[in-house]
């Protein structure tokens, strides 16, 4: 199993911070990961179709679930949206929920970088979040993921 590069995690944190609930301590009702995924969905569905997006998110969820067991409560619906966020929020601590969001998004971005490369991934993200800082526009190490210990 591979862990996303630390810079991908920073990028994931930044994207979550752009969305409602992303800067809170988790006490808010908003689920930043839901909003990020929903914004990415049409962009990526153009490239891979709904089926493709669903497959990518499912894979990211499977990888993330191995790191944070609570994430196993989540499912990807047939339309590609995330299901089970409310249930997860009730069952785990706020800190763990926020961490889970970061892990899941890091894996999703890591998969994108692995498939289409850093440049194109950043290009897609910048189309959705034009406010992404120049500094964020590098996920380092050519986008390669790190081997888990």
């Amino acid at each position: 199993m591979t862990k996303p590069h630390p810079k991908i995690r920073v990028l994931a944190e930044n994207l979550l911070a752009f969305e409602p609930g992303g800067k809170t301590t988790g006490a808010s009702d908003a689920n930043a990961i839901f909003h990020v995924c929903e914004k990415l969905r049409p962009q990526l569905a153009n490239l891979t179709g709904n089926v493709g997006f669903r497959a990518l998110l499912s894979r990211a969820l499977a990888l993330a679930g191995a790191e944070s067991a609570g994430l196993r409560l989540l499912h990807v619906k047939s339309n590609g949206s995330l299901e089970g966020l409310e249930e997860l929020k009730e069952k785990v601590a706020a800190k763990e929920f926020l961490e889970g969001e970061k892990i899941l998004l890091s894996h999703l971005l890591g998969l994108l970088v692995a498939f289409i490369g850093e440049n194109l991934t950043m290009q897609i993200l910048c189309e959705v979040w034009p406010q992404l800082y120049r500094n964020d526009r590098s996920v380092g190490n050519g986008g390669k993921n790190e081997k888990a210990e």
Binding site: N46, L47, T48, G49, V51, G52, L120, Q123
Partner: protein, 522 residues
């Protein structure tokens, strides 16, 4: 009646002919570049704007790569490319692989090239919904170019649920809509040629580009054919295609030489670098001639070629040596041994020694390499050493085309004033005097034949000018040696021997002579 026809014919003769493009009121069709080297020339200038085209072929022959190359060559923010992907290769996979090619420009994605996935519409809805989705997207962004990849899968899905008329109507409406919206369209699909006669898409299409991939023995040969491009003077026939890190490259059968201007004949004679041989040739080779030097191994063909190039360099005529057997260093060293400096002209860009030996080249791309080099250095002299090596370097599937391609290249180059010296190895027979086992003598204006002869217990070398275009030449069989200054013709004509051409001459007069090269001590 006959009288009337005669009058009509005479009247027709009197009307001065005017090129269509010069006639007032005629529409001028802009031609879009393909971004594929060599393809625009084959197309007769490029892809006609607003045309409705099909890129067809079997899987793996480069259809998607070709579509991407055309897309990247034409995409602008003002006139974007809409790339609809259907069942088959999803855009994400395309992007993963296509970004390996040099033509891929990531900065164009999103604004100038937009990928739109039609999979869900195709899977879940009917042809009308597919058309509606295309119309919606095209209306929203007014693209300059539209690609549907793969269109075949749209049709395949629909065939089960749609009658033929509905299918034809869908294609017709799609074509009309896209053309009306000033989009140049490419439908990419896996088709086999047998489908052409029954499939309405081929009737409706303005352009049909067919790609092949044929395996022959150990090599793969890619070909391209334009079955139709409406309104354009295309280059007919099958053209070689290669896919490398730059994407597709097409090699026109005419090798881009159709527009090469013929040089006026000046009857200038060029020195071959061997004064005595120049005399035998009637003063040298005529500029723009093709000279064939035939002889067995070790007779000095490459030495002669080296001197020919050196003679040109000496008077400021750049040269190209296309070699297939020895390595370039061998030629440079040989020249140095003859006191000829090849290094400096190489450094100055006046001489290129092309070592072409990859073993799976096509004739056309090999020739393209030579032509590119000729253009780069402005070469006036070209050496091909040797034709046998050249043929060996080709993929087996291309060897059948060798003579035809050689014929085209030699004809065009000599017409443009380049003087060519080709060598060919022939096995010495002691019963006959063949010029070449290739039936290529007709390609050449001049032929020099070298051979071994046995004289006084020595295997010596002789040469003779067999053929010389447009001029008289010596008919003598002359002996020569390879010295530290190169090939040198020695002795006046041998009159003491007959049957020199057989290689085993007969002494017909008393010969008191000094051997040209030292005899072995007894």
């Amino acid at each position: 009646m006959e009288e009337k026809m005669k009058k009509q014919n005479n009247a027709a003769k009197k009307i001065p002919r005017q090129p269509a493009s010069d006639q007032p009121g005629k529409v001028t069709i802009r031609k879009l570049p393909t971004g594929v080297r060599g393809l625009d020339e084959i197309l007769g200038g490029g892809i006609p704007e607003y045309s409705f085209n099909i890129i067809a072929g079997t899987p793996g022959c480069g259809k998607t790569t070709l579509a991407h190359q055309i897309a990247f060559a034409n995409a602008t923010v003002a006139k974007p490319v809409l790339y609809f992907t259907v069942l088959g290769e999803p855009a994400m996979k395309m992007l993963r692989y296509q970004q390996q090619f040099s033509f891929f420009d990531a900065s164009k994605l999103g604004k100038a090239i937009r990928f739109i996935n039609l999979v869900d519409v195709v899977l879940e809805q009917d042809l009308n919904a597919v058309l509606d989705e295309i119309i919606k997207q095209v209306t929203a962004s007014s693209p300059g170019l539209v690609v549907v990849d793969s269109f075949r899968t749209v049709i395949r899905k629909a065939v089960a649920n749609t009658d033929e008329m509905e299918m034809q109507s869908f294609i017709q409406r799609l074509a009309q809509f896209l053309t009306s919206w000033e989009a140049t369209t490419f439908l990419v699909g896996e088709y086999v040629q047998e489908e052409m006669k029954d499939n309405p898409i081929f009737t409706i299409a303005d352009g049909l580009i067919w790609l092949w991939q044929v395996t022959e023995r150990n090599s793969v040969v890619r070909k391209l054919q334009l079955f139709k491009i409406r309104g354009q003077d295309t280059v007919p026939g099958l053209h070689t295609v290669r896919i490398n890190s730059d994407g597709l490259q097409a090699f026109s059968r005419t090798m881009g030489l159709t527009n090469t201007k013929a040089k006026p004949l000046r009857n200038r004679r060029l020195s071959i670098g061997i004064p005595e041989l120049d005399k035998m040739l009637g003063g040298g080779i005529l500029e723009g001639d093709s000279l064939l030097v035939a002889g067995p191994s070790g007779t000095g063909k490459s030495a002669l070629a080296t001197q020919f190039i050196a003679a040109g360099l000496k008077i400021g005529e750049p040269g190209i040596m296309a070699i297939f057997e020895e390595r370039p260093k061998g030629y440079v060293d040989r020249a140095a041994n003859f006191g000829l400096n090849f290094k400096t002209p190489q450094e100055k860009g006046e001489l290129e020694i092309l070592y072409l030996r990859p073993l799976d080249l096509s004739v056309d791309e090999t020739m393209q390499e030579i032509l590119d080099a000729i253009e780069r250095v402005g070469a006036k002299r070209l050496v091909i050493d040797s034709l046998a090596g050249f043929e060996m370097a080709l993929a087996p599937g291309f060897r059948a085309d060798f003579r035809e391609s050689l014929y085209r290249m030699i004809g065009a180059l000599t017409g443009a004033g380049v003087t060519i010296l080709s060598t060919v190895e022939v096995e010495d027979s002691f019963t006959s005097f063949p010029f070449s086992h290739y039936a290529i003598s007709f390609l050449t204006d001049d032929i020099i034949r070298m051979r071994y002869v046995e004289i006084s217990g020595q295997l010596r070398k002789v040469l003779v000018v067999i053929k010389m275009r447009g001029g008289n030449h010596a008919k003598d069989i002359r002996e020569y040696v390879i010295t530290d200054t190169g090939l040198v013709i020695i002795h006046p004509r041998q009159t003491d021997y007959t049957e020199l051409s057989t290689g085993i001459p007969k002494l017909c007069a008393r010969a008191v002579e000094q051997a040209p090269e030292p005899r072995a001590d007894r």
